[in-house]
């Protein structure tokens, strides 16, 4: 079916938030096919063989991009108060 659409060059920025601190969290069991990266800032994860619209900052859709403010102001599932025992 689809062929590999991204190079396996080591990414230097997160496609979603542009942050440069990335963790390589997994490599393909068959050596050299793909790696999985994880952004330390927005926690986005991607595989290097995914289409450019998911892996390249300049091709990543604006509507899915995330900023530091988006992360800082993200709505939180409320933490309830501790019970008074």
């Amino acid at each position: 079916m689809a062929t590999k659409t991204a190079t396996n060059a080591t990414p230097t920025e997160c496609p979603r938030c542009g942050h440069d601190r990335l963790d390589q969290i997994y490599t393909s069991p068959v050596a050299g096919v793909w790696e999985i990266y994880h952004c330390q800032q927005c926690l986005y994860s991607w595989r290097t063989t995914e289409p450019a619209r998911r892996t390249q900052r300049d091709a990543y859709p604006d509507s899915f991009k995330m900023t530091v403010d988006d992360i800082r102001n993200a709505i939180e599932l409320p933490v309830p108060p501790l019970r008074q025992s």
């Binding site: 079916m1 689809a2 062929t3 590999k4 659409t5 979603r16 969290i25 997994y26 393909s28 069991p29 068959v30 096919v33 793909w34 999985i36 994880h38 927005c42 926690l43 986005y44 994860s45 991607w46 595989r47 063989t49 995914e50 289409p51 619209r53 998911r54 859709p61 509507s63 899915f64 995330m66 988006d70 992360i71 993200a74 709505i75 939180e76 599932l77 933490v79 309830p80 108060p81 501790l82 019970r83």
Partner: protein
């Protein structure tokens, strides 16, 4: 007819021509999700998909769309693949009458073949994870039955929960979870956090198909999902004790992930393309720490694509959303005839009822809003006459076209609770709800000019049978 594990059901699908094996090499993305997106376009008899040649993996096995058609749903219930939608809902109601059927504790669970613990855990070693939709924030697990107990009443098996919730994979042994407030796991987590504790959980993947159906059924808080599975299967659901948490998990799961939702901790999650056909997320949600994984040798990863309706999720939350609502309404209002809550997990619900007296249909509509599921869903409730089939949308449109007067028959109730995922809500968590009374006014409500309604001719049924027989030849 009962299947004790996913593999025996995949065999049954295969025998019925309902399993399509994709043998050519595919890329993890976008192929697996794109194929699952496409298969739902094949219609109400679409097959399940099975991938075992995924680039970069040595041994990946991925099953998609296992419940993703009425034909597959019928097989899961042990019915012929040609069984109609309405008949499947009727059979679901018949079997519900046998609830509860106690589960059966069984030794030597299938998932006990292999295990890994603590820092040796890397979920990516076990699951061939794939992204589903473009804007998803990562790799998701979205068809696992998650087991948890009520921290205030852990011995009460009725209050335990077995439900499907979306889970994002954030690292080798770290996950995120969305506990929607109206769902049972959110009540468990809330209690644990009030107590200052973590919530132990077991995430079970690749199950008997009926278990996935009950895990997606909006049962009442103190009703046990395994006991409904027994009624639907026609045989007790086999369960076993998870080795680390002691939680009751399916005996036949492919994979059992144990750990805790870490109390009082939040971290950014998502977005994720949801059952509403819209993305939700980018919120701070609870975090799961994995402590142990048990799994069958060469496990099959059962996964679910969801997107623009209808996809597999819509079949998985169709009949099982109608039936508990029907049971709950019928208990209070025996006049209720049928409930169709198949649209977007019951964000829209159609109820047919006899009209006891003027205003009665509106009361039925309001009761829908106060059912356990209605608290979070039921954004639109349409009430139709007893002789209108809520599963027949042309008939429903006829009722809307002729029975409903906008000046009196639309009731908007503002600021009710509504799942955060509903994109039309005022604020995440609340929204207005609409009741449409599309029944013929009953005395003393004398509005309209209804006179006599046309009915099918008494001889029509006989002729229908005759014409059907003639058409066969």
């Amino acid at each position: 007819m009962a299947y004790d594990d996913l593999r025996s059901f995949l065999d049954a699908l295969d025998k019925e021509g309902q399993l399509l094996r994709i043998t050519e090499e595919v890329m993890p993305e976008p192929d697996v999700a794109a194929a699952a997106n496409a298969v739902s376009r094949l219609g109400e008899a679409a097959p399940a998909l099975y991938f075992d040649n995924v680039a970069g993996f040595n041994n990946a096995r991925i099953a998609m769309n296992v419940h993703g058609s009425w034909a597959n749903h019928a097989l899961a219930l042990g019915l012929p693949t040609t069984t109609g939608t309405k008949e499947q809902v009727a059979e679901f109601i018949n079997r519900w009458a046998k609830f509860p059927v106690k589960p059966e504790w069984r030794d030597n669970p299938l998932w006990a073949q292999n295990s890994v613990e603590g820092d040796d855990i890397n979920l990516f070693d076990i699951l061939p994870l794939v992204r589903l939709n473009d804007g998803d924030g990562g790799f998701y697990i979205d068809k696992a039955g998650i087991v948890s107990k009520d921290p205030d009443d852990p011995e009460n098996s009725g209050k335990q929960n077995f439900g499907i919730y979306r889970i994002e994979v954030k690292g080798p042994r770290k996950l995120a979870i969305l506990p929607v407030p109206v769902h049972d796991i959110a009540l468990h987590l809330r209690k644990a956090e009030e107590r200052g504790e973590d919530l132990p959980i077991a995430i079970t993947l690749g199950n008997d198909p009926v278990l996935s159906i009950v895990a997606a059924t909006p049962m009442e808080y103190d009703q046990n999902e395994y006991e409904l599975a027994g009624a639907l299967r026609g045989a007790p659901a086999p369960i076993a004790k998870a080795p680390l948490t002691g939680l009751p998990v399916p005996w036949g799961s492919e994979i059992v992930i144990e750990g805790v939702i870490e109390g009082r901790k939040r971290e950014v999650e998502g977005p994720f393309g949801e059952f509403t056909g819209h993305y939700s997320g980018g919120r701070n949600l609870p975090v799961i720490r994995i402590d142990k994984i048990s799994y069958r040798t060469d496990p099959i990863f059962e996964h679910l694509y969801l997107g623009v309706p209808w996809t597999e999720i819509d079949y998985l939350v169709a009949a099982n959303t109608c039936v508990p609502l029907y049971e709950q309404l019928k208990k209070d209002f025996p006049e209720v005839q049928a409930v169709n809550a198949m649209y977007t997990h019951g964000l829209a619900i159609i109820v047919s009822t006899k009209n006891r007296y003027g205003g009665f249909a509106k009361a039925v509509g309001m009761r829908v809003l106060t059912t356990p599921h209605g608290l979070g869903y039921a954004a639109i409730v349409i009430v139709v006459d007893e002789n209108v089939d809520p599963f027949n949308l042309p008939q429903v449109m006829w009722a809307l076209s002729t029975k409903m007067n906008p000046s009196d028959d639309l009731i908007v109730v503002p600021h009710l609770s509504l799942v955060e995922l509903a994109p039309q809500s005022d604020n995440p968590g609340t929204g207005a709800k609409l009741i449409i009374d599309a029944t013929t006014p009953a005395r003393p409500d004398n509005r309209g000019n209804y006179g006599n309604q046309v009915h099918d001719l008494p001889e029509m049924g006989e002729w229908l049978t005759k014409l059907q027989q003639l058409a066969k030849h």
